[in-house]
Symmetry: C2
Subunit: 137 residues, 2 copies
DNA sequence: CCGTATCCTGGTGGATACTG
DNA sequence: CAGTATCCACCAGGATACGG
């Protein structure tokens, strides 16, 4: 049936978020919802990286400023460990902590979901655009 | 040992993101990374909601404009179904689609992760702030 | 190499007013 | 009630220059 029409499954009773509110969603999203945090984690999931390596590896090109800010925040939250070798020139290595890896696992599942459903979503968007053509302008 | 020092676990070899890149992360985050999409989905996971209900339910107070934009995008992506009852005054109902529920499950796991680790992260932040006190004027 | 300090722009989202 | 249309403020993030 593919994406024939907007089917609606019955809600899984166990799934409901507790109405006691502030379920914690905002806190995570404030950490991974920004432009670079997740990409940095993804790259670090491939191994230890130095500052420049990290910067060069990120697609789209991150500025030094943003890489610093991003990596500092990740460090502060305990997701990334920063190791400074007092050499000259200075050398700094970044790697995921245990906490970082546990979050990376979830990030991974999000990525998997995305790839699994991207065709379906593209389908929906196409339908929607089709149905709403002519309305605007 | 709690969060004694920044421990680093060995990377799970199976976890690595495929280096073929554009793993799909950005696509999901572009959908759930904004201020309201997830909150709307969370509320809709509790049941069918009308426009105003949705607006009143969201903590922080969303503007009509943003609620419209958010809900339209979710609809366009096939995550939310919109049903219009041609009554007067008009009545519109929103609910999660199958696709929406599948994403909601992941959102839920993010929320769970957050609650499970928020203490640990707070701990880390406290340590970090402690260690970096005095550096900045 | 690894940052920090400034400056500046674009886009997200709020406030408000108006329609069907 | 359920939107649409405008206008506007704020700040995430880019560009650039400088420092340890």
């Amino acid at each position: 049936m593919s994406a024939g029409h907007t089917e609606v499954t019955t809600p899984d009773p166990e799934l409901f978020f507790d109405p006691s509110e502030e379920c914690g969603i905002r806190e995570v999203l404030d950490r991974i919802g920004d432009k670079w945090s997740v990409q940095v984690m993804v790259e670090l999931s491939r191994g230890v990286r130095r500052f420049r390596e990290l910067q060069r590896a990120l697609p789209g090109g991150i500025s030094q400023r943003m890489l610093t800010l991003t990596v500092r925040r990740l460090e502060r939250d305990g997701l990334v460990a920063r190791t400074v070798y007092p050499t000259v020139p200075p050398q700094v290595e970044y790697e995921l902590t245990g906490l970082g890896w546990s979050l990376a696992r979830l990030v991974r599942s999000l990525a998997d979901w995305s790839r699994e459903h991207r065709a379906e979503m593209a389908d929906f968007r196409h339908q929607w655009d089709e149905a709403h053509r002519g309305a605007a302008e």
